[in-house]
C-alpha cells in the first residue's frame, strides 16, 4: 500500500483509472451489458 502518495502520483493513478473505466464502458457498450458489478464489500458495524 502506498502511504507517501505525491501530487504527481495521484494524477497518474487518476488518469490510469479514468482510462480503464473508459475502456470498460466501451466494452459494455459494444457487448450490450447494462450493469456489471465490480466490487462487493461487507459493511462492518
Amino acid at each position: 500500500m502506498v502511504f507517501w502518495k505525491t501530487k504527481n502520483d495521484s494524477f497518474n493513478i487518476k488518469e490510469e483509472i479514468k482510462i480503464t473505466l473508459s475502456e470498460l464502458f466501451e466494452e459494455m457498450n459494444s457487448k450490450g451489458y447494462n450493469r456489471i458489478s465490480v466490487n462487493i464489500a461487507e459493511i462492518s458495524k
Binding site: 500500500m1 502506498v2 495521484s10 493513478i13 487518476k14 490510469e16 483509472i17 479514468k18 482510462i19 480503464t20 473505466l21 473508459s22 470498460l24 464502458f25 459494455m28 457498450n29 451489458y33 447494462n34 450493469r35 456489471i36 458489478s37 465490480v38 466490487n39 462487493i40 464489500a41 461487507e42 459493511i43 458495524k45
Partner: protein, 146 residues
C-alpha cells in the same frame, strides 16, 4: 418500515446472495450504462453504489433475499466523480479490471439462468427447427421448378 426499491432477486450476484444468507450489511458497486430496463434509469453511463443495511424486523421468517430485510441507499456518480472515489479508497485499476471480469461472468450466468427459466432457449430451438423446415420446403420448390 422503510422499504426501498432494489433489483429483483433474479439479478443478484452470487457474492451478494451469500452475504444476504449470512445476514450481513454490504455495499455493491457497479458500472451502469444508463440503467437497467424496468428497474432504474440514469441520465448517462456511470458508477452506481448501493449501500444495503441489514434490518432485523419483527416479522415471521422470510426468504433470505426478501427486500424487507434490507434498507437500500443508492448513489450514482459520473465518470470523474467515480475516479475520485476510487483514488480516495485506494481502488486500483487492476482491481477494477479483475472485478469487471468477475462481474461479466456473473452477468452471463444470470442471463443464461433467466433465459432457461423463461424457456427462451426452447423457443429459439423451435424457431430454428421451423426455419430449417421452411428452408427445406423452399429448397424443394426450387428443385421442382428447375
Amino acid at each position: 418500515m422503510n422499504v426501498t426499491p432494489y433489483y429483483p432477486s433474479e439479478l443478484f450476484v452470487s457474492d451478494e446472495i451469500s452475504l444476504m444468507k449470512d445476514k450481513k450489511s454490504y455495499q455493491i458497486a457497479s458500472l451502469v450504462l444508463g440503467g437497467v430496463p424496468g428497474v432504474v434509469n440514469y441520465p448517462s453511463f456511470g458508477f452506481e453504489c448501493i449501500n444495503r443495511i441489514r434490518l432485523f424486523p419483527l416479522l415471521p421468517n422470510m426468504d433470505d433475499t426478501s427486500p424487507l430485510y434490507y434498507a437500500s441507499t443508492p448513489s450514482f456518480y459520473s465518470l470523474d466523480d467515480a475516479v475520485n472515489i476510487m483514488v480516495d479508497s485506494y481502488f486500483s485499476s487492476s482491481e477494477l479490471k479483475a472485478g469487471f471480469v468477475k462481474g461479466v461472468k456473473e452477468y452471463n450466468r444470470i442471463t443464461s439462468e433467466l433465459f432457461s427459466k423463461n424457456c427462451v432457449y426452447d423457443s429459439l430451438k423451435k424457431l430454428e427447427e421451423k426455419n430449417t423446415y421452411s428452408d427445406k420446403i423452399f429448397d424443394d420448390l426450387i428443385l421442382r421448378t428447375k
